[in-house]
């Protein structure tokens, strides 16, 4: 497993599920042999050392999986052909017959073993715990009880972390967890050794603490293609026994002693590997986690809205009544924040601005709150731009006679705004503000990209764990409704009041 989340894969795979396996006139193996080509799916983007474009020969693919595919094809008496496919959609594309097999660092996890037919493993990876060199308190997984440990969500390591006593922090990419480890936002990162050595251990301040557990990369076939799966199994066995497999690993610097097991691997080992842990079913334990997630959603949204309301008012006033440079600045702010995705703003704030600021201030305490602070700040600063426009419209709706009346009574502009204009404008703006709060509640699901586990993220995690999207999805929707419906009623009441007494 390399990057991305398993969620969309599992979602689509489950959606397509059993229906996609239509009747086969001939076996998959026969068809593949007839075509003379083994078509395998993978993603070249960010695929080193798996499969990626050769810098020396543009247009040529290279990587240990390319060599492995060639070797397997040779064993099968055919030619290997690579099919580019977005990594997170490999399994659904496999189900749609876009290629014969998928091979691109797919970890054998219980959720995935339910949807595809895995061959015997072609690589044994190690889930490696990486920590900061200058943190002697991290000596192994046990030392991280109650502490934050980063990983990719719904990965093999994610499963391991959830069984441990530490607090799992989920990421969507491979760079970010190690960056956060350096930034003291997490105290350890648990990920495959290939990722650890490529993205983690290249950072001088980080070191390998321990190999926590072994996991497997295997080739994914369609559930129905049993004969193809068996044929590839045999091919893999012969490549492993001849020593060719380890020669490939050695060329790519990913060989380790544990790979020795592959040479003597048996079908029983495969069955043991695929032995699916008992399915978790949706329980009150999950429901409690959902309520907790809803609490996080509400917490982030409420504070972000407070910030947006106050800052937005300042922006509107600066734009309308401030001196020229300030007004220009406020206008630029509104255009910038409305014109760029909030997701980008969250990334820049959490991975860019905040670490930079911490460095500049030489301040690295309370880092575990960074994600929450960035979530509130990011959403708040973004929504402030929208709120300021609502206020501006509200202020513009106040008849100019109100400002004149205030001035004639001797009020300064500031006093007139505070006592006369803004209180009336807020009344006009209230229905719009309430609607924005509802939108913010839903947009708050975006903060999961900066490791905050709110309601939607909790739902996707649970859905993968219990292998069903129905109950978690419905419960999640019900909780969002429970939060947004009262607001929507309130908004309607406010609008009615405004219509009665303009």
């Amino acid at each position: 497993m390399k990057r991305g989340s398993w969620v969309p894969v599992a979602l689509t795979a489950l959606a397509i599920g059993s229906t996609s396996c239509g009747p086969h006139e001939s076996s998959a193996l026969a068809r593949m042999r007839a075509a003379g080509v083994l078509r395998w799916g993978g993603d070249v983007q960010g695929g080193e050392p798996y499969v990626f474009e050769d810098e020396a020969n543009p247009g040529q693919l290279t990587g240990f999986e390319v060599e492995l595919a060639d070797a397997i094809a040779r064993e099968l008496g055919v030619r290997a052909e690579f099919v580019q496919n977005d990594w997170s959609n490999l399994v659904p594309s496999l189900e749609r017959n876009s290629f014969d097999v998928a091979m691109n660092g797919l970890e054998v996890t219980p959720a995935r073993a339910d949807t595809v037919r895995f061959t015997r493993p072609y690589f044994i990876f190690s889930a490696q715990l990486v920590a900061r060199r200058d943190d002697p308190t991290v000596t192994g997984m046990a030392s991280l009880a109650g502490r934050r440990v980063g990983t990719l969500s719904n990965s093999y390591s994610w499963d391991l972390l959830n069984q441990s006593d530490s607090i799992p922090v989920s990421y969507e990419g491979t760079e970010e967890p190690y960056a956060d480890l350096e930034g003291h936002r997490v105290d350890g990162v648990l990920l495959d050794d290939i990722i650890a050595s490529r993205y983690g251990l290249v950072r001088p301040s980080l070191h390998l603490v321990e190999d926590v557990d072994d996991g497997y990369y295997a080739i994914a076939c369609r559930q129905a293609d049993e004969d193809l799966c068996d044929a590839i199994d045999d091919a893999l066995a012969s490549i492993a026994q001849s020593g060719e497999l380890r020669r490939i690993f050695a060329r790519w610097n990913i060989d380790a002693d544990r790979e020795e097991r592959l040479a003597s691997w048996t079908d029983d080992d495969t069955r043991a590997m695929l032995l699916v842990r008992e399915h978790q079913s949706f329980s009150s334990h999950h429901a409690m986690l959902f309520v907790e997630g809803a609490g996080v959603t509400l917490f982030v949204s409420a504070f972000a809205m407070c910030l947006a309301v106050l800052f937005g008012l300042g922006l509107a006033l600066a734009r309308m009544y401030g001196p020229k440079p300030l007004s220009l600045l406020a206008t630029s702010y509104v255009e910038l924040f409305r014109g760029t995705p909030v997701l980008l703003q969250l990334y820049v704030l959490y991975y860019g601005a905040m670490p930079w600021l911490r460095h500049a201030l030489d301040w690295d305490s309370a880092t575990q709150y960074d994600a929450m602070v960035a979530a509130i700040l990011g959403l708040g600063l973004n929504y402030a731009a929208y709120e300021s426009e609502i206020y501006r419209a509200g202020i513009q709706a106040i008849p100019p006679g109100q400002m004149e009346a205030a001035k004639v009574l001797g009020m300064s502009q500031g006093l007139a705004l505070r006592r006369v204009i803004v209180p009336q404008a807020v009344r006009i703006a209230l229905p719009g503000m309430t609607n924005d709060f509802i939108a913010l509640l839903k947009d708050s699901s975006l903060v999961s990209v900066i490791t905050v586990v709110e309601l939607t993220k909790r739902m996707t995690i649970s859905a993968v764990e219990v292998r069903s999207w129905l109950i978690p999805g419905l419960l999640c929707a019900a909780l969002y409704m429970a939060m947004s419906y009262p607001l929507s009623v309130l908004s309607r009441k406010l609008e009615e009041r405004l219509a009665r007494n303009p």
């Binding site: 001035k407 001797g410 009020m411 009336q424 009344r427």
Partner: protein
Amino acid sequence: MSEIEDKPASAIEVTGLVKKYGDRTVLKEISYEIGRGQVAALVGPSGGGKSTALRCMTALESFHGGTIRISSAKLTPGAGGSHADEIRKLRLVSGLVFQSWNLFPHMSAVENICEAPVQVKGESPSKAMDHAKELLEKVGLSHRATAMPRNMSGGEQQRCAIARALAMRPEILFMDEPTSALDPQRVGDLVELLQKLTTEEKLTLVMVTHEMKFATELADRALVLYEGLVIEDGPPKEVLESPKDPRTRAFLGLED
């Protein structure tokens, strides 16, 4: 009591006032003086410049030439310099009742009245409240103290607006078209109220109106503004019943 001694003899002195909107000159070097305690009516056809003159005198508009002195506040063309100080002085000596009253809709009658004394002058809320009650009684609105503007009739809103202006204890009260939104039978009440106020409070009252009967009943001075010029100036009876200028005669509908 030196403050009073310092006060100029006249309440208002306008000298060579010029106001333009773009290329159009709407006030063409007009000059007039209004004495303390006088009740003056600015009359004339619409577009004659009477409302513009009022807006210049209350510093809601800047102007392009001449000077305006309102009691001790001296307004000059443009903005900047000592302008803000002079406008502050102007606000303390004068009040304005708008044509549409412009009460603050989110405040009750009494809150409208107390707002400026408390927020601008820094009066204690209790003192401002006492004064507000006194004023409400004077304008006959005691029973409507806690009413919100949207629940008040036009006449009530106007009287509340008058009380709001008086709460700042002005020497000079400006009124813009005070009769325009009133039922004809209510105009008599307004005349009565304003007569009472000008005598009791020694107010100088300057109003813009197009209602000649109202002007005749209340004012002791009428100025006719016509195409940016003051073409008549004198006691209302004289000016309005036997004007000298043929343009005034035409405007009043008096045939020769």
